[in-house]
């Protein structure tokens, strides 16, 4: 069964742009996501060892608490779930199709690569000052120079890694 194509990316993109502007207008909040990982990790560490994180600069700068962006990120999970369920394409999948065609269906192989990728990606995002939401969408729509620099850097390195991973074609 071939899955239906998604909604037009230009239309959904434009709607996203409108929502992003309304969010700034109504509550003064630009889209972003990576700071919420800082607050989440801070909340987890605070639970186990509050005295250890209390003096840490980074958790003083980004207080471990639930804020607008944290709820925004939780909302993304819910919104995607609602969209997937109502259009019948919710599917439990351990290994993405493209990955499977190249690297096989080993869950461990995908898990290790994704985990390591996650560690490197967020370290880079925090160093750069944001992710494709914070720098890419919010930064670029404000014509922020750092947004353009970060977004271009994301794509250059991402393209090099993706191309080298998939060089040599699919299995079989």
């Amino acid at each position: 069964m071939k899955e239906k194509e998604g909604w037009n990316p230009y239309v959904t993109g434009a709607l996203t742009g409108i929502v992003a502007v309304l969010s700034v207008l109504i509550v003064g909040k630009f889209f972003g996501a990576s700071t919420s990982y800082v607050r989440s990790a801070g909340l987890i560490e605070k639970f186990f060892a509050p005295q250890r994180i209390a003096p840490m600069d980074y958790f003083i700068k980004y207080i471990p608490e639930i804020d607008w962006q944290f709820m925004f990120v939780i909302g993304v999970l819910l919104g995607s779930f609602i969209a997937a369920i109502t259009s019948g394409n919710f599917r439990l999948q351990a290994v993405p199709d493209m990955w499977k065609a190249r690297f096989g269906s080993s869950i461990a192989r995908r898990a290790i690569t994704a985990f390591v990728g996650g560690v490197i990606a967020i370290f880079g995002a925090r160093l750069a000052g944001g992710c494709p939401s914070g720098h890419g969408l919010s930064g670029v729509m404000q014509l922020s120079v750092s947004g353009f620099i970060a977004l271009i850097s994301f794509f250059i390195a991402g393209a090099i890694v993706a191309r080298s991973l998939y060089r040599g074609g699919d299995k079989k």
Binding site: F31, G118, V119
Partner: protein
Amino acid sequence: MSLLTYGLITGIIFGFLIQKARVVRYDKQVGALRLLDMTIIKFMFSAVFVGMIGIYFLYGRGVVGLQIKPVTLGANIIGGLMFGIGWGLLGYCPATQLGALGEGRWDALWGILGMLLGVSIFARVYPALKETLYAWADFGKITLPQALGLNHWIVILLLIIFGTLLLGWFEEKGL
């Protein structure tokens, strides 16, 4: 309505849209990085075009303020390239992987766990970075119109023309 409720509702709408556009998928993310399927670029450009017009319209009327992140060249570039490396391996970004998890692609969980570890490491390295990478080539909070000395509407117009040409080329190539 509280700020947290606004956050949740805004996130739900964004998550709904990116799932409908398939932007949350590994295949779409890595498809763009492999220059095979430019869906996420089309989505992103479209969002940014509308966003910059809206933001600068409201900014010009003094209704909203900008929240510019500073240019610290070393941190922006090295961090950006690191993010790209991780993104190429993971195939999701911090926001979209929550969306991927929402539609059942549970390999996103590995990325989420990796990111939680990654920020904990970053928080420990941060004091050293503050005096080195962040202190180097710090140009402050600048926008493209300021850097170029042009009116923001001219910059927006040029970006939309350039972006539209690029998108047109993608469409022509069937990407």
